[in-house]
């Protein structure tokens, strides 16, 4: 039955990843590290799978989706904020690491040409690793998360430059400087062009397009993917990375009121495809040949793990950010990137370096990604530790945090469904001074309400989390959708908060009672009472 090789390759990858993650869970291993280990086990160790072009494409699709997700998170105002620091720190670190890396490699006995390649490979940090971890920590939106993402995107641009150069150098014939320059020109022009298109579209085109499809979540999801692919293809055409295209596509959509819902829908797809990406990364890591360079691997890994954050700390604190945010941002940079492999693989195939250098880079990659994943996941603890021992005082940054934490909602009444009933309840409660959170799928229905609104589909767990059921005072559902009402009753019960659910029809009562609903909004009873009194009044008056 057909060619199902891809399916079974994918299956092995996903299944292997699942098993390794479960097996290493008691060690608190970050998922991405477990995925890479799974890739190592499936590829270099056992030889079950080998690197194929299709897998590479699937992995690339995962990256595109991840960056699309990041873009969806960022409004333009937030990006403008961190622009200067992103450029300064991004470029500063590139220069520093390249110089330092070259020095160390040269001292370790590599010839200048090899040292140059090693230096370039060490320079870039992995956008995918960091973004995945920040997303897992729900910190993409935090100030330090935004600075980090900004820096990584600046570096992605530098990567484009580097890749274009290496591609030029590895061409069989002489290096054509003019051609490289023209390629670079196209890339930069393309980048600016895409950015302009994204911004214009988000202002003039997308709002009305998404207005049409707003009522149907699946369609807006598919539409968002269409938009993402459009940018990815355009970026590829212009020699830009898939990441940059997807990121810009995301930014254009982030300005719409539907971005949160889209994020929730794209998220599971990202989880799925990015797992493939990390396993694929592991598949590529031929570690065996690197044994002869164990000392170099150790030194260079430590350089990346300590030197990179250090230079970041210096640059970012100089720009006036607080000690805490500077530190949290700096920690994110302590690993090398998947580009390092691509770069090294290109150089290897062009005969510029030996295979052992590729392995060296792989082992540095594995070590730094693995350790920095822990550093990012436990960044707050690490900061507390460093701060308590006064290790950060030398940077002389202020210990005040510039970002006042948004007070999370509490003691609020959650009202789901802005129909006639929902609006009435919201208005009345607000008039009486209650804190109310209104939820509806349709962003238009949330307009003009006297309270905070949350756009989203409540059958999505992330919406329930965002609404903070556990600290609410009451959950009200005015919806007349049986399935969702039952779900809300269940969730309210789970969070131990009283709920009042619209019992719009007698057939739904039984389930609600079983689910321990505290109060049923009894529209039929209310209507019956009113009609009964009208009936009696009418008969009396006759």
């Amino acid at each position: 039955m057909g060619e199902l090789d891809i399916l079974f390759n994918l299956g092995t990858i996903i299944g292997g990843a699942f098993i390794v993650v479960l097996a290493t869970r008691w060690l608190n291993v970050p998922n991405i590290v477990a995925y890479i280990v799974a890739g190592l086990l499936l590829g270099p160790v056992t030889g079950i799978l080998s690197v194929t072009h299709t897998l590479e494409l699937i992995a690339e699709f995962g990256i595109a989706l991840l960056l699309f997700l990041v873009g969806l998170e960022l409004s333009i105002a937030k990006i403008k904020d961190v622009g200067p620091v992103a450029v300064a720190a991004g470029l500063g670190q590139v220069v520093f690491t390249a110089a330092g890396g070259f020095g160390f490699a040269y001292l370790l006995g590599f010839d200048p040409f090899e040292a140059l390649f090693i230096a370039i490979a060490l320079t870039f940090s992995s956008t995918v690793v960091v973004v995945k971890l920040l997303e897992q920590k729900d910190d993409l939106d935090a100030l330090y998360g935004r600075i980090a993402v900004g820096i990584f995107l600046v570096q992605d641009l530098v990567v484009v430059v580097a890749l274009t150069f290496v591609a030029g150098m590895t061409e069989t014939d002489a290096v054509e400087t003019a051609e490289i320059l023209s390629n670079l020109g196209v890339a930069f022009a393309g980048m600016i062009g895409l950015l302009v298109v994204a911004l214009l579209a988000s202002r003039y085109v997308l709002p009305s397009l998404f207005g049409w499809v707003a009522r149907s979540p699946e369609v807006s999801f598919i539409w968002a993917l269409c938009w993402c692919f459009l940018f990815v293809l355009a970026a590829e055409e212009m020699g830009l990375s898939v990441e940059i295209g997807a990121f810009l596509a995301g930014i254009a959509l982030a300005q719409l009121p539907y971005n949160h819902d889209l994020r929730r829908r794209v998220n599971p797809l990202v989880n799925f495809f990015i797992a493939v990406f990390f396993v694929y990364l592991g598949l590529q890591m031929e570690l065996g040949a690197a044994l002869q360079y164990w000392d170099a691997a150790l030194v260079l890994s430590l350089f990346v793990l300590i030197g990179n954050p250090l230079i970041f700390m210096i640059i970012i604190t100089r720009m006036g950010y607080s000690e805490r945010n500077s530190f949290l941002t700096s920690v994110t940079v302590a690993q090398i990137s998947e580009f390092s492999f691509i770069l090294a693989a290109m150089a290897l195939s062009a005969g510029l370096i030996e295979e052992s250098i590729l392995s060296l880079i792989a082992i540095i990659g594995f070590a730094t990604i693995g350790i920095s994943a822990y550093m990012i996941l436990y960044n707050e603890e690490l900061y507390e530790f460093m701060h308590r021992w006064g290790l950060l005082r030398i940077f002389g940054a202020s210990t005040e945090t510039e970002e006042p934490e948004d007070a999370p909602l509490s003691n609020h009444v959650i009202v789901v469904g802005m129909n006639t009933m929902g609006r009435r309840i919201v208005n009345d409660l607000c008039q009486r001074g209650q804190t109310v959170l209104a939820i509806d799928y349709d962003a238009k229905k949330l307009e003009g309400l006297p309270c905070k609104g949350l756009q989203g589909d409540v059958s999505h767990s992330m919406v329930i989390e965002a609404a903070r059921f556990e600290s609410a005072q009451l959950v009200v559902s005015a919806l007349n959708i049986e399935e969702i009402n039952n779900l809300l009753a269940f969730k309210a019960n789970q969070a131990n908060v009283p709920c009042s659910i619209h019992a719009f029809d007698h057939s739904v009562r039984h389930d609600l009672k079983v689910l321990n609903t505290d109060h049923m909004l009894n529209s039929q009873q209310a209507g019956a009472n009113r009609i009964l009194s009208a009936l009696q009044a009418h008969i009396k008056s006759d």
């Binding site: 039955m1 057909g2 199902l4 399916l7 299956g11 092995t12 299944g15 699942f18 098993i19 993650v21 479960l22 494409l57 699709f61 397009l209 049409w212 009522r215 149907s216 598919i222 539409w223 993917l225 269409c226 692919f229 459009l230 293809l233 599971p268 989880n271 799925f272 797992a275 129909n419 006639t420 009933m421 929902g422 309840i425 999505h460 767990s461 009451l474 005015a478 049986e482 039952n486 779900l487 009283p498 029809d505 007698h506 057939s507 009562r509 009672k513 109060h519 529209s523 039929q524 009873q525 019956a528 009472n529 009113r530 009964l532 009208a534 009936l535 009696q536 009418h538 008969i539 006759d542």
Partner: protein, 553 residues
């Protein structure tokens, strides 16, 4: 060579504008995805398309397995609605017959029969959401008809794939398939919760785990020589779980499903070759069967079963399209070499066309019904209304109560208590016995029908009360009972204003009233005038008092 990523990009980029059209004109998305496929097919190779289509099939069947509700199976089987299966037999035979008439061999004509007989859940039920929510007769009917059809489609698919791997006798095949399903149930019972615990509430892990199970079952199916579709369905059963508890997992599966389903329908379109006269003829034959013959047969059967003409017609008009399962069956048959390209193309084209015509027929269903009824093409079964109703012909000074739900029941109680004569109008067959037992006088017919009102004599009535907040019905009541005082129900303030302007005496907006009441309770709770326990007690009292005359057991 177009690689996978570019193929995916093309699929989505082409699909985007078509979806936009679909939404702008409120058409179902599936047919426009198929049309998008016709365009995308020009850029993507057939080999890649077939492969992507396989993923789509696996995901569709998997998510059907995940979403299957065993309770629903039971209710549908208990209901007499199973008799509507007659419709499948009649239309299916017509389909096979017309295939033979076109000179297509019997083996392939069977697929035409399947295409004609089965209707689409995605299109049909999606369009009927409102009716289903309101528990209207036709919403319920269409839903259970489609559910039964999906089950039949699945069985057909299993048989088809068993036939494909005919190295072993069919019995062995089915044995293997059953083994797989039993394995799935065991995994569901004993392994899944364990995985859930191990994953420790991380929905990322649960999704990866569910996909692992899917691939595991599909590989197992392949290993024992059963179709991977069986494996996908088994995996669905293995993953199927309490939605409330595994919400993150369900959300994830939903997204992944949406993604692959879009790909699936586009690839289906991409597989269609250039239409020829023969194909177009065959496709139009199929369209006629599905869009015309099927509703006629269904209406006839439903009327024969005792549903009144309007509900029967409207139900039939919501199942007049080709099912997505028929597409899966056709594509499997094509891959296995059981079906010729031209027949396959005809089925795909007919599917796309009928899904569009069906959304139109559903939008204008009232008008279609009225047009047919006015020309006497649908015989209003007045004899049935007469037989089932009980009311005097010379009734005067009575109150007409439309709808015997909870409000209707209370109105009847009140009328009896104050000695007011009344007539109840109701048309849900489920309520027929209750109405006969509890009401002195009633008309059992559709309140949209003129004849129903002729029997209730609104001109002599004191008051007409409708407890059904459906605007078209309210308008019709104002029209048919003009001159008599009318109390109506509405679900929005705007519609209430409208109805008042058109002459209603009084309109209740039940949702508003309930909302006001809740706000009072909240206020009382916060100020301490009412304890939560007291509120709960009060509510329980009320519910228990009401449960005596509950209609739904």
């Amino acid at each position: 060579m177009v690689d996978l990523l570019t193929a995916l990009a093309i699929i989505f980029i082409v699909a985007g504008p078509f979806l936009l059209i679909a939404n702008k004109f409120e058409l179902p998305t599936v047919p426009l995805l198929i049309v998008a496929g016709l365009v995308a097919g020009m850029f993507i190779e057939e080999e890649l398309t077939l492969e992507l289509a396989q993923y789509g099939i696996a995901l569709l069947v998997f998510s059907f397995g995940v979403g299957i509700q065993f309770d629903t199976v039971r209710t549908v089987l208990l209901d007499s609605e199973i008799a509507t299966l007659g419709q499948i037999l009649v239309v299916g035979s017509l389909g096979i017959g017309s295939g033979l008439a076109f000179g297509i061999p019997l083996q392939e004509s069977i697929y035409l029969g399947i295409a004609a007989a089965l209707s689409s859940t995605i299109v049909g039920t999606a369009l009927l959401q409102k009716e289903i929510r309101r528990n209207l007769v036709r919403g319920r009917l269409a839903q259970s008809i489609q559910f039964v059809q999906d089950l039949i489609a699945l069985v057909l698919l299993l048989i088809l794939s068993a036939e494909a791997f005919a190295m072993d006798p069919i019995a062995t095949q089915i044995g293997y398939g059953l083994m797989l399903l039993v394995g799935a149930v065991l995994v569901n019972r004993y392994v899944f919760d364990l995985l859930g615990r191990l994953a420790g509430g991380s929905s990322e892990l649960m999704i990866i785990g569910a996909v692992s199970l899917l691939v595991l079952f599909m590989s197992a199916a392949e290993a024992i020589g059963v179709s991977i579709v069986v494996g996908a369905f088994a995996a669905g059963l293995a993953v199927r779980h309490d939605k409330d508890r595994y919400m993150g997992l369900y959300n994830g599966i939903e997204s992944i499903k949406d993604f692959f389903i879009a790909i699936f329908f586009v690839t289906i379109g991409a597989l269609v070759a250039v239409p020829t006269v023969e194909k177009v003829l065959l496709a139009s034959g199929l369209v006629l069967l599905t869009a015309v013959a099927k509703p006629i047969v269904t209406t006839a059967i439903l009327i024969y079963q005792g549903y009144e003409a309007r509900s029967a017609t409207l139900t039939s008009l919501s199942i007049d399209q080709v099912s997505e399962f028929a597409l899966i069956i056709a594509i499997e048959a094509l891959i296995l070499g059981f079906l010729e390209q031209s027949v396959f193309d005809a089925i795909i084209l007919a599917t796309a066309v009928t899904m569009i015509t069906s959304s139109l027929s559903q939008r204008y269903d009232e008008q279609i019904y009225r047009a047919l009824a006015d020309r006497g093409l649908i015989v209003g079964r007045h004899d049935k209304i007469d037989a089932w109703s009980s009311c005097a012909d010379d009734v005067t000074d009575h109150v007409i109560i439309v709808g015997y739900g909870r409000q209707g029941q209370q109105l009847v109680e009140t009328c009896e208590a104050i000695g007011q004569r009344y007539i109840v109008i109701e048309n849900d067959p489920v309520l027929r016995d209750t109405v006969r037992l509890e009401c002195k006088e009633f008309v059992f017919g559709d309140a949209m029908e003129k004849y129903t009102w002729e029997k209730a004599h609104p001109e002599a009535a004191r008051l007409v009360i409708s407890t059904v907040p459906i605007e078209p019905l309210s308008r019709r009541i104002l029209n048919l009972a003009s001159g008599t005082d009318t109390i109506l129900s509405a679900d929005t303030v705007d519609s209430a204003f409208d109805l008042l302007n058109q002459g209603a005496l009084y309109v209740t907006v039940t949702d508003l009233l309930a909302g006001e009441q809740l706000v009072q309770y909240v206020q009382a709770l916060i100020h301490g005038d009412l304890t939560p326990e007291a509120l709960r007690y009060k509510q329980q009292q009320l519910l228990e008092k009401r449960s005596d005359n509950a209609v739904y057991r």
